[in-house]
Amino acid sequence: MNGPAPTPAGFRAVALAVAGRNLYNFLTNPSFIGPALAFPFFFFVSFAGGLSAVSGVPGFDFPSGYTAFQFVFVLLQSAAFGGVFTGFAIARDFETGFARRYLLAASNRGGIVAGYALAAFVRGLIIWVFLTAVALVAGMRIDGSGVDLFGLYTLAALVNFAATMWAAGVAMRVRSIQGGPLMQFPTFLVLFLAPVYVPLDLLSGWIHAVASVNPVTALLEAGRGFISGDPVLVATSFAIALALAALFTLWARGGLRSAESAG
């Protein structure tokens, strides 16, 4: 039996309903919101506080200081992990059977994925506001203009969307929280194989070789350029972020097909 024809209004209604429920769960459950805020906080505190002496390494030349240097990494990391945690929520919805009810009830199933992505973005916004406040309290220097900062947070939003699509694709294929490591580990890997602690020029050996071809390196360098008011690799970084978002949207679409076939 065919359902009602998909309409833009149906898509929007489904997306808002899914996002609303996901955000309600996130905001009302301390075991979800706690780690989501605590992880970036402790990464930031540990890196910016514990490694501040690294800015004294010969050749380290970042005008806005080490706190700002690390803020960009933690911001992009929280964006990516916001997406991964949303993937966990999708997997949990499949385990509890709730996602199957979504599939049955939604007039436009693409709206389900869009709803999760919207929830991931709002979760990301909450975390970024918190993280930025912590960084400012810690004395972070921002040399970039308002436009630069808009570029930085837009980049974070694109990373968040790409990571959500990646995790959603895995979650809808595996349909169990056991797929968690598969969502998490590659994300962790690609983030940490970039110039996390020092600029790319100061890396050497295998890590330099890997970081040089890692797309996250361009995102980090662009982000650090934005915060220091000296934008670099802007077009490249946005092209990479958009390409990742498009690629993982296709991946998530395949995941949705897989979940639909499984019934």
């Binding site: 514990g50 501040s52 690294v54």
Partner: protein, 259 residues
């Protein structure tokens, strides 16, 4: 130890060891994750050895202490999750019907942590030395590093047992992982205490026992035989073990009364 207690501990220890060996999902992440971070941090922070006062010219040697601590954190999860599963599935209730003593239960359950500690120590040390880390204490230092690793792993394992008995849920035990990671993050994990230039971070790290556990490993790797840091490291590990076991024993009594 009386004969009957020995048999009880032996049976539970055998079960704990087999259970650990049969769950690669427990062993593999505890080996792979710390070694991955070791590789990344060593590559990324190599130039930190150029900072005045850095104790060695090999960041790998300095950082090799960290996997031992991360491995111990996995022991909290593994021992706690196993016991929580026993509680959730009703296995502990069945044990409560037997004349099993609490001490035997707790000691036996930690056998898996001992095994995990041994495997972790052997792998971390072998990989580190093959990759070029130095071991200033020489071959005898290997034995002390293994002993320290096992002691710390068992100490943290006892905390996992307490958490499982107190909360009775695997999810709650898993939720402790970030809490313990915070202790690692707010320590002298990445740089020596003297080089932590942010005042408040230095103060927190100086008050954090994990800094001294790391210092004990580093003393063997970088300095050679330094009795002070070693005694402090073993002392802190034994204190954590004593606190963990005391808390676990109390929680076990409450848990058995409840059942």
């Amino acid at each position: 130890m009386s004969g009957s207690l020995r048999i009880q501990v032996g049976q539970l220890a055998r079960r704990s060891v087999l259970r650990t060996l049969r769950q690669p999902a427990q062993i593999v992440p505890a080996l792979v994750f710390p070694l991955f971070l070791l590789a990344v941090n060593t590559g990324g922070l190599k130039d930190a050895t150029n900072l005045p006062g850095f104790p060695t010219d090999s960041y790998l040697t300095f950082a090799l202490a960290v996997p031992f601590m991360q491995g111990a954190l996995f022991s909290v999860m593994n021992s706690g999750t196993d016991l929580a599963r026993d509680i959730e599935t009703g296995f502990l209730n069945r044990l409560a019907l037997t004349p099993l003593r609490g001490a035997a239960l707790l000691s036996g359950l930690l056998a898996g942590s001992v095994l995990l500690g041994l495997i972790q120590a052997a792998v971390y040390l072998a990989v580190g030395l093959i990759a070029g880390a130095e071991l200033a204490a020489g071959p005898a230092g290997v034995l002390v590093i293994v002993a320290l690793s096992v002691t710390i792993t068992v100490a943290f394992g006892s905390v996992g047992l307490f958490a499982a008995l107190r909360f009775g849920s695997g999810e709650a035990v898993q939720g402790l992982f970030p809490v313990f990671f915070v202790f690692l993050f707010l320590s002298s994990m990445a740089l020596p205490l003297d080089l932590l230039t942010t005042d408040w971070f230095h103060d927190v790290a100086a008050a954090n026992p994990v800094s001294y556990l790391l210092a004990a490993f580093r003393s063997l790797l970088i300095e050679g035989w330094e009795p002070g840091p070693l005694a402090l490291g073993f002392g802190i590990a034994l204190a954590i073990f004593a606190i963990g076991m005391t808390a676990a024993s109390a929680a076990l009594k409450t848990r058995l009364v409840r059942t």
